[in-house]
């Protein structure tokens, strides 16, 4: 690792697959970072990467990989910043090879680029494997399996860092583990130092969604204000050797870091706060303390750690068929009753003319959509958008949804407008557990 000082400075370059690029560039340019992490893989994005890889000329890695590497490799090289990312998605080796080609084009052939392999456990997921939820076997799902990936931990990455990697590209690694790896490599924390692994995991958890700790996903005008949200900065973690961390951001960027933003992110996607399970450790977040130091700096300490589990979580992806979604709008007086009538027409037509059998959903956007099932929202809107959604293995059944929704324009209630419809491939993901020792990981350096 470069810049071997008492404080390790880690930045977040992306918090999800489609995250912005300019805040990452600004961070490497001005953040004096030892490492920058691009966390770009959700359950959904990985499943789609498996699908894409099966297509002719398809890639199994993040669609923004080339653009990000073109912009970031020269910056990271100039500032001695190590880049770690799960942008490899379903094919980390191909992503690393592609990255090395970009490095060569940028006259950066000296960069050591490594891929972490072994998260793809598709071969271990036999039809009799039990899923956690729903509680059934893989075979009982009754759909073709697309792929399965185990959540790897920090120690799948640390061997690459100790061997001098400048860029590490992985597939499925638990999000906080991407951040924990450079801490372990830098401070020499062992794989059984549960207390330090918990400290690092809290830091990684706070950092993994990028702007979500610096004022993104936060503003509520009149209640929670965020300065210059359009220029919200990505976070920096300053890690001390004792495992405490300060979360901050560049002063030139928009956003805010204070107790409120850090609190919200601390328990984001956490269930039992005393048992946050990662491949590395079971971390207790329940007694974490936040010290707001002002100037967009919050110190975080007080996590507790205990021994990791003997199993690794695996995401198993299945072919979900086709998702059809179509919308038509109604505006002005009577908008709601015309949209409701249109919905009834759609149901009747799909049932009786097309014999459509798959589960279907009708929404009245503007009156009852996101929480339509709560059924207690009284609408007075004069701008209602009817939406029909359906998922099916049969492409013709999907096409019929779009056809009938578009036909409302002439055959439906008065004033139907603004039809849009699309069919997208769908994947379903479920979880299973695998014994840790069945998942073997390796690091491969790319030779140009």
């Amino acid at each position: 690792m470069p810049n071997h000082t008492d404080i390790l400075r880690i930045g977040t370059g992306a918090g999800f697959s489609s995250d912005r690029l300019d805040p990452a560039m600004e961070l490497v340019e001005h953040g004096s970072l030892d490492a920058i992490i691009f966390e770009c893989l959700g359950e959904r994005t990985l499943a789609f990467a498996h699908r894409d890889m099966q297509l002719a000329n398809g890639n199994g890695y993040n669609p923004l990989l080339v653009k990000r590497m073109n912009h970031l490799l020269p910056l990271c090289s100039r500032h001695n910043t190590c880049l770690i990312t799960n942008m490899g998605a379903a094919d980390p080796l191909a992503a690393a090879v592609r990255t090395s080609e970009i490095a060569a084009q940028c006259q950066l052939g000296h960069l050591n680029i490594a891929a972490v392999l072994g998260d793809d456990v598709t071969h271990l997921i036999t039809p009799d494997v039990e899923l956690i939820e729903p509680e059934c076997t893989v075979a009982q799902i009754g759909r073709p399996m697309i792929g399965a990936n185990a959540y790897l931990g920090s120690q799948s990455i640390t061997p690459a860092l100790t061997r001098g990697a400048d860029v590490v590209i992985t597939g499925r690694v638990a999000d906080p583990s991407l951040f924990l790896a450079p801490m372990q490599a830098h401070f020499g924390w062992s794989n059984h130092d549960w207390q330090q692994l918990a400290n690092g995991t809290v830091a990684g958890h706070l950092m993994e969604c990028a702007a979500q700790v610096t004022g993104g996903y936060f503003a509520d005008p009149g209640f929670k204000e965020v300065d210059e949200l359009a220029r919200v900065g990505f976070p920096i973690a300053e890690i001390s050797p004792d495992g405490s961390v300060v979360i901050t951001k560049l002063p030139t960027t928009g956003g805010r870091v204070d107790r409120q933003t850090v609190k919200e992110q601390l328990y984001y996607e956490v269930h039992d706060p005393s048992a946050y399970i990662t491949p590395d450790v079971i971390a207790d977040f329940s007694m974490v303390e936040l010290d707001d130091q002002g100037n967009d700096r919050v110190m975080v300490c007080g996590a507790k750690g205990r021994a990791r589990t003997e199993t690794l979580k695996v995401t198993v992806a299945f072919d979900g068929g086709h998702l059809a979604e179509a919308e038509v709008s109604y505006a002005g007086p009577g908008a709601l009753s015309r949209a409701q009538l249109a919905g009834e027409v759609i149901n009747q037509r799909l049932d009786s003319v097309h014999g459509s059998v798959s589960e279907r959903r009708i929404d009245l956007i503007g009156a009852a959509s996101l929480h339509a099932s709560a059924g207690k929202f009284s609408p007075d809107s004069k701008d209602i958008r009817l939406r029909c959604a359906l998922r099916t293995p049969d492409p013709e059944e999907a096409a019929n949804v779009l056809w009938e929704m578009e036909a409302l324009l002439c055959c439906g209630p008065a004033g139907g407008a603004g039809y849009r419809g699309h069919i997208t491939p769908s994947v379903l993901t479920y979880s299973a557990l695998l014994e840790r020792d069945r998942v073997k990981t390796t690091v491969e350096f790319i030779q140009i």
Binding site: F223, R259, Q260, L370
Partner: protein
């Protein structure tokens, strides 16, 4: 004097998802409102308010160090992001559904910001 106000006036919240389970971290702005949060936002109340949305168990974990409550709702996402036909498959809007709940409060000292 006792009065009623929406939770949004005394607290902020963020929703997250994992599979078909939703969690909403709710945090009061003022420590003095912490007891209102943990006494009035209970699993029983959430089940009765949102019974049609939450098909599984609800658990509430008090977070005394940050004056918050972690609300965890099983089977609350109509199957989760990959399976739900809901536009909001992640359940990101759950936070504001909970902030819209009314709580009973002493109106003499209703302050909303930290």
């Amino acid at each position: 004097m006792k009065g009623r106000t929406s939770l949004r006036h005394i607290a902020h919240a963020r929703a997250g998802d994992k599979g078909n389970r939703s969690n909403v971290g709710v945090f009061v702005y003022e420590p003095k409102h912490y007891s209102i949060l943990i006494r009035q936002i209970t699993p029983e109340r959430l089940k009765s308010e949102f019974g049609n949305l939450v098909r599984g168990a609800v658990r509430c974990y008090p977070l005394p160090k940050v004056h918050g409550l972690n609300v965890v709702m099983d089977r609350a996402l109509e199957g989760g992001v990959n399976e739900s036909l809901n536009l909001d498959g992640h359940g990101k809007s759950w936070s504001f559904l909970i902030l819209d709940l009314e709580v009973e409060i002493n109106t003499d000292n209703l302050e909303t910001k930290e």
